[in-house]
């Protein structure tokens, strides 16, 4: 079953087409890599999918339902999580409190119940705390639960952010360069974590990544963007051999020779 689908997505900023007729489909339970040189439109693509940016053409479907043009919080409520290159944890809150915000969208208690306590409210709060704790255990960060979020290393903050997206039991999580700046050991841990998120939580993952080792190891399929256009798609092994991909990253050899002569 197709879990996430982009159909003919396009968006322009001024005269630049940041995305042009981008289409792809991600199966349920797949880990999809999105690669491409800097400026290829990868982050713009994630921004369009999660609703931060409205496309001027095309549509996005989540589990078969169109989500194009909905507000980010509504899309999040439909089961789409997102992390960023730089940590977007809330400062001034502990790690556990940060995770609990991941459930705030679905609170049913009204304002007055929330403001004046109430048993239902307290029960809900307790449930949120339990879920947050479980998610922390899942990513192996429970010993940091009462630390202020900004006291963690950048790598740890990214893992907490991943845990925050998991707490609301999303269908799909978009990851923007989760491996930036990680050591080889940490990279292996992230590789394992991403597989466990897919296998144990049944979450479909779509990730932008420059660290080819991680992409080759963990992704089922890879989509290659260049200049806002999809230039290749396939298994990591096939894509890495693709002439257009090599050209996108390294430039065309023939051209170089011609220019030299």
């Amino acid at each position: 079953m197709t879990m996430l689908e982009a159909r003919g997505l396009g968006i322009g900023f001024g005269g630049v087409r940041a995305l042009d007729d981008v289409s792809f489909a991600v199966r349920e339970g797949e880990i999809r890599g999105i690669i491409g040189p800097n400026g290829a439109g990868k982050t713009t693509l994630l921004n369009v999918i999660c609703g931060l940016v409205r496309p001027d053409a095309g549509e996005v479907l989540l589990a078969g339902e169109p989500i194009t043009g909905l507000k980010p919080n509504v899309i999040a409520g439909r089961g789409l999580g997102r992390t960023f290159q730089t940590s977007q944890l809330f400062r001034g809150m502990t790690v556990l409190e940060n995770l609990m915000t991941g459930l705030h969208g679905e609170t049913r208690a009204g304002l007055f119940a929330a403001a004046f306590g109430g048993r239902a409210m307290l029960a809900e709060e307790e449930r949120a705390r339990e879920k947050a704790w479980k998610a922390l255990e899942f990513v192996g960060m429970e010993r940091f639960w009462d630390r202020p979020a900004q006291a963690l290393s950048f790598g740890q903050q990214r893992v907490v952010e991943i845990a925050r997206t998991l707490i609301s039991e999303p269908k799909v999580v978009l990851l923007d360069e989760p491996a930036v700046g990680l050591s080889l050991n940490r990279l292996a841990e992230l590789d394992r974590l991403l597989r466990r998120i897919r296998d144990e939580r049944g979450v479909t993952l779509v990730m932008i990544e420059h660290v080819i080792r991680l992409v080759m190891g963990v992704c089922d399929r890879v989509t290659v963007l260049q200049g806002g256009v999809v230039i290749a798609e396939g298994t990591p092994d096939a894509v890495i051999e693709d002439a257009r991909v090599i050209e996108a990253y390294l430039g065309r050899r023939v051209d170089a020779r011609r220019r030299a002569s």
Binding site: R82, F90, A114
Partner: protein
Amino acid sequence: MLGYLVLSGITTGALYALVALGVVIVFKATGTVNFAHGDLFMIGGFLAFTFHVLMGLPYLVALALAVAAGFGIGILTDRIAFRPLMRANLVSLVLATVGFSFILKGIARSVWGGKADLFAFPPLISPDPIFLGPLIIIPQQLVAIGGAALVMGAFAAFFRLTRIGKMMQATADNPKAATLVGIRTDRVYMYAFGVGAAVAASAAVLMAPLTLLYPDIGFVLFIKGFAAAVLGGLSSLPGAVVGGLVVGVVEALAGGYINSSFLEVSAFVVIMVVLVLRPTGLFGATAVRRV
């Protein structure tokens, strides 16, 4: 003399602090200063006057009704002066709140009388001062200080312990991430305006028995509260409380020792001194981040 001035300074300061809390919570959530905030205070006071004096309801009932109505009018502020312009620039937003301030003032004048009308709110308890050694205490002052402390406590608990409070904190820190974890940020802005106005209304009801009510009281209180908020760093809740107390005491001392006409000016002097010496305020290391 000193004891009396400090005590009355703390009394008015505690009420300025409540006004400042409203300014700060709206600023933290939305990045805008609500110039209609003082008029929300004023309307709260007049509503309490209507409920208590004109309709004869008990003081506490009038207080509860005025606070609830304040919350509603705060939400109205969001709907009229903020939400339609959310994506506009800061100047338009601020001007919209200034406009809303005039609307509220106009409504108050047409409902409760002309420009110079002053309304006396009967004291709750015996107005006779108590002499405690050299200290002269007006019991109503203690009621106001106690009431303000209660409201502050409730406010802090609301902000720290409830989910809505956490949502506000999250939205204030990072609106983009907040919306992506599923928080309805437009709702949060609405609550910020509502809660801020409710706190302002409670301040008005506590202050009314100590002073007179008039339609222009809103701007006076707004300037005091704004000075307190700026002193505290504009985005710090404890800063707003400390700022309120400082402005109140400075004002009382300036009025008592220098000249009573200094009383009105001192809040402006505080704003100027803070902006020159410590632009981020006493508590606001991050105050410059948003504007």
